[in-house]
Amino acid sequence: MKNERTCGFWDATFINTGWAIATWCFLTGALTASLVDFKTAIFCTVFGNMLGVMIMLIAEISVTVKYGIDTYPAMVSFLGRNGMKFMLIFFVLLNLGWVAVLSLMFSRAVQNIYEAISGNVSPPAMFTAVAIIAVLITWLLVYKGVRAIAWMNRIVVPCLAVLMIVMFYFIMTGYGADAVFSSKALAPYDNHIVNIILCIELNVGAGLSWYASLGSLTRTTKTSRGAMWANVIGVNFMADVACLLGAAAAYVIGGDDPTTWMIPLGGLVLGGLGLIFVMIGNITSNAIVMYATCLGLKQFKFFAGISWLKTTALFVLPVLILLFFPDFVYGNYQILLNGSAAFFASLAAVQFVDFIMMRKGYLDLRSVYNNKESSAFRYWGGVNWGGFISIIVGGVVYCLLLNPLTWEYSGALLVFKSVSIPAFLVAGILYLIWATAVMKPSGKGSIEEYKRYFAAVKGNQ
């Protein structure tokens, strides 16, 4: 509610930026560098990421800010309560992986600092041990809640911003602007256009990837405008800067992992300091992902009935197990990055059609939380199969054009020149047809309840 919204514009901006700037940005930048040269990378990063963020904003932000709900209750209107839970399970598994990846990267940074200072190779057990410490620190932050995360970001984010400026300065002076701007792609495909398309898609996917956790942040923001611009500044503009820094470093220094190039670039003191801030950035990003996911888990009756401490502990436990398989986790982070992109575009499309086009910005909160047959969102066994299948089909379209796991692409990619947009359009059109031809006539979902509601609200004014 209004008095519970603790984040003004600046806090929201710091949180969004702290969420965005973590090792994953630098990795995305390095992947970008593998496909295209730096000048092309600027265009692909700026415009690709912007498109992804805009799609996400249009679909999600209006409902989560307006009603003060997070991402998952907002999905009930187009997925049904049980359909939302299936999707939530998918997001939970995804986010378990992300928290493990960022924690291992935290550990890798510690290892590199240790090795740079001591000159010795760090003991193998240190990798998992330090990652466990990272998860426990994250857990403490999440247990304390959004205010603690906001406070941490007030300190961390300005430091990260300065760090990025300093690192860019070192690259430009140490290696020369010419070296960066004349750099070539590191490991491109043979087809030049395919490289550009994939690079754009990588960044569209990066822009969309915040979808699962966005609602948990925007619901705490005091104004809709503040939520929107904080998001644009944080996960769009600032993420672009971090990605391009990662790309520039990949071109001139080599390597996709910032923990390997920061010390060679900045020296032991500045590079080490930079690594520390990136490590802290990983913690703050992890905290937001963990917070949003645990909040989502409260949609399940079991988790709704237990304390926040126990809920977060149950999320942390499988993450800790994953840390004992670091090679498996670290070596497959691209699956997390690309696999989620396959479905976020179609999810956003269905939400946009449902909330904006069909329901005209009205969400029936009573039906969202009504778990019985009397709920308008009960649909068929708790699932709106049309919404669910539209998202799946959109995801399949994505996968047919581009395999998100292997990055093998079909010839059709050169025709459509995009992967996310066809997925978005197919899912959106399918759901529009379903809502018009099935939901409206059957009364399932009470698509036109908005008319009664707005008439009532207008009558009360």
Partner: protein
């Protein structure tokens, strides 16, 4: 949904009591909140027209930018 009185807490309670997955005290909080949100059409005012125009402009810029990128390089 014909018997709904939006913003009326008793009406919300009649529809939701015992029908959510929450304990009774949390359920009652939820009922109060939903009634208030219905009465005010949301917790906070929605984004203003200039904000929506900015989003649409940025979307257009990104699409045009992508088309230019594909053509330019």
């Amino acid at each position: 949904m014909e018997d709904r009185i939006y913003g009326n807490i008793d009406n919300v309670r009649a529809e939701l009591k015992g029908n959510t997955e929450f304990d009774s005290d949390i359920e009652e909080q939820l009922i109060e909140r939903i009634a208030e949100i219905e009465a005010n059409d949301g917790v906070v005012p929605p984004m203003l027209k200039p904000d929506w125009i900015a989003i649409i402009v940025m979307t257009a810029i990104s699409v045009i930018g992508i088309i230019i990128t594909l053509g330019l390089f």
